[in-house]
């Protein structure tokens, strides 16, 4: 195996062009390193992104804020610009994993974090005790045993990013690069409803930065459900945003295979309360919780409603 440490994005893609065989991008490594330890089939090359300084910065533009994908979660949480302009994103970052992991884990990594399932996220040994699942290349699903290979999705592993709900509310976009193409894609269009492929990023692409337009919402909140106030992934995460026009948007993570986003225009409802009530019932309807963690599915349905209401009550 070979390691590479490019210093610019261009250099990075020169390397990928030259490499014969497989490679992996290494961002913060907090998920990649455990994967490398447990996987028997690891690639020939690792490309470290930590020296690419251009993607490790937070910068202000005329009408937006740009966050480099290699900015660490700790930097995001403590950055004065972020705390001034979109403090909810900093708050959400502070809720991720542990202080040590936030010092290493990156914004890009959290957005791309692999979906999780109690059955898949095991050592190969322990997974093997039940037979390999679809995500591990097998042909069964322990979580929903009736799943057939013709079903969509075959894998119901849940999305667990703590940053994504707030980014959805803020209408953020991802700047994505490959060797010869840079594209920009809205976070709202980025995710796929599938526990295996998860998003539209291609193997040869990297996320360069996240762009957050100014003043999408005047009020943004994020609330996370977990049994203890450290380490844990969200069992449910709900973000709400209210625009100056008092239009409402709601984003939900931790339950479905993809993060959910929906917006509601006040003009479609008789009043604000009716809109909130509708958003709550929609939220309950649209989440499809399965028995995946300490919280039963029915409880998560109740909490979607509760979280939306409790956050909006602070508006």
């Amino acid at each position: 195996m070979l390691t590479h440490s490019p210093k610019t994005v261009d250099e990075l893609f020169l390397i990928t062009n030259k490499i014969k065989g497989s490679y992996l991008f290494h961002a913060g490594g907090t998920d990649l390193v455990p994967y490398l330890k447990s996987s028997s089939d690891i690639p020939n090359n690792i490309i470290f992104l930590n020296r690419v300084t251009s993607i490790s910065e937070i910068t202000v533009h005329a009408d937006s804020l740009s966050i480099g994908s290699m900015v660490t979660l700790d930097q995001l949480a403590n950055n004065p610009l972020i705390n001034k302009n979109c403090s909810t994103l900093a708050d959400a970052a502070r809720l991720i994993a542990s202080p040590q992991i936030r010092c290493k884990g990156t914004v890009g990594g959290n957005i791309l974090v692999d979906n999780r399932c109690h059955f898949y996220n095991q050592s190969p040994f322990n997974r093997g005790s039940h037979g390999e699942c679809f995500k591990a290349g097998g042909s069964s699903c322990q979580l929903v045993p009736s799943t057939k290979s013709s079903d969509h999705p075959t894998c119901r592993a849940r999305s667990v990013s703590d940053l994504v709900p707030t980014l959805l509310i803020l209408n953020a976009s991802l700047v994505v690069r490959s060797a010869d193409l840079e594209r920009k894609i809205s976070v709202r269009d980025f995710f796929k409803d599938d526990g295996i492929t998860r998003n539209t990023l291609k193997v040869e692409e990297i996320v360069v930065s996240i762009e957050i337009p100014d003043q999408e919402c005047s009020f943004v909140k994020y609330r996370k459900l977990r049994i203890r106030n450290a380490i844990d992934f969200p069992a449910l995460g709900v973000a709400v945003g209210i625009k100056k026009s008092r239009d409402l948007s709601v984003a939900i993570t931790g339950v479905n295979t993809a993060p959910l986003f929906h917006s509601y225009q006040l003009s479609d409802f008789s009043d604000f309360e009716q809109m909130v009530a509708h958003a709550c019932s929609e939220g309950k309807k649209r989440i499809k919780p399965l028995k995946q963690d300490a919280f039963p599915p029915a409880y998560k349905k109740l909490m979607v409603d509760q979280f939306i209401r409790s956050m909006i009550s602070e508006y």
Binding site: A230, I231, F233, F295
Partner: protein, 795 residues
């Protein structure tokens, strides 16, 4: 007298702290033996299967593989209790749980070992597993342990019946009865199991292992591998937490020893965190039905319990657990009529064993919640009810446990005052609550698990020309601070600074036998042995001092009740006897103050002069002290279970806030009053209580080992939820000195007893806050919310 105390009763930092805080302390995995072979274990993916064939041909052909071990290579089974030696080091013919070892390999490197594991192929014939403890009670043609010829998966049944249970219930003003359900709990110590074996040119082995009981491991390796004990030395390096989970001898320890013997090479095995969960030996999941009769005048009139405990695939400490589920309910409230039936069953899951508060934790939840329910129905204050009905000092329980000191009444009164109980109970707004619960625990078992007449603990002391005191004890410091306690006790008797006591412990070659660190026995038993040894050493030094000062030998004083700060017994030490007795009065009129020893006539002589005088014609000074439990207990089958020379008690008054919209529980404040006799080292006492609170909090609110088709589904610190610092409540600790006349300087149990009653105190506070009871642990927000929504009294 108290002015004379040099270390007892003072907050003494643990003697290993400096090594630990600088990273110098070596744990088993940290030892660097000369090029050890890496040992790994191939484990079963099936909970129940017959092994038809094992193909190890490719493994044996792989370069760097030095030995491959199968079950049939180690035919002798073992178990910590002589009455249930039902476990093979590697599965023989059949596997009984997911994670059971089938093949072990010793390889030149970690990478080769990992590769080798992937080349092992086992052909299984899958058999029907038994996961449900209820089904395990039923007759079956295919029991998990056919060799026991039981026709079912029942492992152990205990029935006890004292007094007149029916009359007891008929005398009650209120009878309450509930069913409770408790999940499997893991010790979750931070240091994974680890063993290294060094082999010398004569083929003799030194086993370095993370074990709570070097002596039991010593015996097991000798028995299973059929090697004389003198060819085996067991040493415990620094150990990263045990909590009961490192008190059995384990397969990997025997395997590492066997592979060293086969290859003639040093061996090393360190578990992954996942393997720690497979190995388990944690708290038994249990289902408990309990019925309690309560009378306003007479207190508890009757208690009837039925416990079904799920032992997993093997015996471990299970027979003891089965007894402890019932017998430990005999205190701290007097129970005149009681009956219990406890059944331990085998199932196809990782085995359960001893864990902090062994066997007494889940039944305590049931009994303390039921008492709270009865008081609620009778409109009695549950603190006042308890105050009127505690066991009294120097009394017997119904099943003839000898109660010596009993400080709980004062402790509860103090806890009520400190927590402002009477202004809060049933007076707080909805969502806020306060609850009480009490507990009772042993200070070591009065009977050893291997029947013999040896003392329970022996300590040796030596002093040579340098004047330093070497203290040798088989007791295992697992982080609880037993080495410090032993040093404190000896330092106190010899009037020396604690750094002059050099503790050499948990090494079977150099240290006398001690039955190890479990059942809260070390302070009481090894502490007394240390005191005995030090008193004998003091006598030698006094004799030499008398020679130097040309004065006559002292007369030992007869103690009076008024000056018994040191909790002396009422006897002079009998130096002719092998055992000086619990806390003999050793006051000889001399004052030992570090560098100077002062005679009763006021003349002083330097300590070093005395030591060197004492060495004349004899050489190194050596003494031995022992601890032997007094004869006690009733004349009936099982009377020895739960029998202890002293019992600790604990009071918890706990305050909680429930968020009614989400059911989230915040334990705000805990007032904990523990009767540990004399607090020999307040810093340690507080540490043990705070640790028990944290562990109890986890079991109460979030911890649960989850199985899916027999496989542990959350074998990681991400998915097995241990409370973070944010969940810890404010803690107010109360531990006034009580008078435990037989404990070393008055000390008794503190490491385990506090865990159990904390959990029901939370449950009782939740009831006070929102009027619901949750009888199946952990008490999670969804269960609270469901119960509140249903408006019912329970979930």
């Amino acid at each position: 007298m108290s002015d004379d105390s040099t270390t007892i009763g003072k907050s003494v930092p643990l003697i290993h702290s400096l090594d630990k805080v600088t990273g110098r302390a070596k744990f088993t995995d940290d030892l660097q033996l000369s090029s050890p072979l890496i040992v790994k274990i191939f484990r079963s993916v099936h909970p129940s299967a017959n092994i038809k064939a094992i193909d190890i041909q490719k493994v044996e052909e792989l370069a760097g593989v030095r030995a491959v071990l199968l079950g049939r290579d180690i035919p002798n089974t073992f178990g910590v209790l002589p009455i249930s030696k039902d476990e093979p080091a590697l599965a023989i013919d059949r596997v009984r749980y997911v994670g059971e070892g089938v093949v072990a390999i010793a390889c030149e490197s970690e990478e080769i070992a990992t590769k080798a594991l992937s080349l092992i192929k086992v052909d299984y014939e899958i058999t029907t597993p038994c996961f449900s403890p209820e089904k395990a009670l039923l007759a079956t043609d295919t029991p998990i342990h056919p060799e026991l010829k039981k026709g079912s998966n029942l492992h152990k049944q205990v029935l006890q019946n004292f007094g007149d249970i029916d009359r007891g219930f008929s005398e009650a003003d209120e009878v309450v009865e509930e069913k409770f359900d408790f999940p499997s709990i893991n010790h979750a110590f931070t240091e994974p199991h680890a063993t290294q074996v060094a082999i010398d040119t004569r083929g003799e082995i030194t086993v370095y292992s993370a074990t709570q009981v070097p002596h039991y491991l010593h015996r097991a390796i000798s028995d299973v591998l059929e090697i004389p004990m003198h060819k085996i030395r067991v040493v415990k390096p620094h150990l990263g937490g045990g909590f009961g989970g490192k008190s059995d001898p384990f397969p990997h320890e025997i395997i590492a020893a066997k592979l060293a013997m086969i290859t003639g090479r040093n061996t090393k095995i360190v578990f992954s965190r996942e393997e720690v969960f497979f190995c388990h030996h944690g708290r038994h999941p249990s289902k408990i039905s309990m019925k309690i009769g309560v009378s306003r005048e007479k207190g508890i009139t009757a208690l009837d319990g039925n416990m079904l405990i799920d032992g997993g695939a093997y015996g471990s400490f299970g027979v003891v657990t089965t007894y402890y589920n019932g017998v430990l309910l005999q205190g701290p409230i007097k129970v005149p009529n009681y009956r219990f039936e406890c059944n331990r069953v085998y199932t196809n899951k990782p085995m359960c064993g001893a864990m902090r508060g062994h066997g007494g934790v889940n039944p305590r939840y049931a009994s303390e919640v039921l008492i709270d329910m009865a008081c609620d129905r009778l409109k009695i204050d549950p603190c006042e009810f308890r105050l009127n009905n505690f066991l009294q000092p120097n009394s017997l329980t119904t099943n003839e446990f000898r109660i010596t000191s009993m400080g709980i009444e004062q402790n509860l009164k103090q806890a009520m005052t400190r927590s402002d109980w009477s202004n809060k109970y049933r007076k707080l707004p909805f969502g806020k609550g306060i609850g009480v619960a009490c507990g009772f625990f042993i200070s070591g078992s009065a009977l050893p698990i291997h029947w013999n007449q040896m003392p329970q603990s022996t300590v040796r002391l030596t002093i040579d020309y340098d004047g330093g005191v070497s203290l040798y004890s088989g007791a295992s410091d697992i982080g609880q601070g037993s080495d410090t306690m032993l040093a404190q006790v000896a330092a106190e008797v010899l009037g020396l600074p604690i750094d002059m006591i050099k503790v050499i412990s948990a090494d079977t070659r150099t240290c006398p036998i001690d039955y190890g660190s479990y059942s809260s026995r070390v302070t009481f038993m090894a502490g007394n042995a240390s005191k005995n040894a030090a008193i004998r050493m003091r006598k030698i030094l006094v004799h030499a001092a008398c020679q130097l000062l040309e004065i006559s030998e002292p007369n030992y004083q007869t103690p009076t009740k008024s000056d018994d700060f040191y909790r002396q017994g009422d006897q002079k030490p009998d130096f002719e006897s092998s055992y000086l007795g619990a806390n003999p009065d050793y006051r000889d009129g001399f004052k030992f103050r570090g560098e100077l020893i002062t005679a009763p006539n006021g003349k002083s002589v330097p300590y070093m002069d005395v030591v060197r005088k004492a060495l004349d014609f004899t050489g190194a000074l050596q003494t031995k002290g022992v601890y032997i439990s007094p004869k006690m207990g009733g004349n009936f089958k099982g009377s020895g279970a739960g029998l202890s020379p002293a019992y600790s008690t604990t009071v918890f008054i706990t305050e909680v806030t429930i968020e009614p919209q989400t059911g989230f529980i915040k334990v705000d404040k805990v007032t904990c009053a523990h009767d540990c006799g004399k607090a020999l080292n307040p810093l340690s006492v507080e540490g043990q209580l705070e640790g028990s609170i944290h562990m109890g909090l986890g079991q109460a609110l979030m911890e649960e080992v989850i199985h899916h088709k027999g496989a542990v589904q959350n074998p990681s610190f991400l998915d097995y939820k241990i409370p973070s610092p944010f969940e810890m409540p404010e803690v107010d600790l109360i531990y006034p000195d009580s008078d435990e006349s037989e404990g070393p300087f008055g000390g008794k149990e503190v490491g385990e007893g506090a865990l159990a009653p904390f959990i029901p105190s939370i449950a009782n506070a939740i009831y006070d806050a929102v009027g619901v009871r949750v009888n199946n642990l952990p008490i999670t927000p969804d269960k609270i919310l469901t119960a509140i929504k249903e408006g019912g009294p329970r979930c």
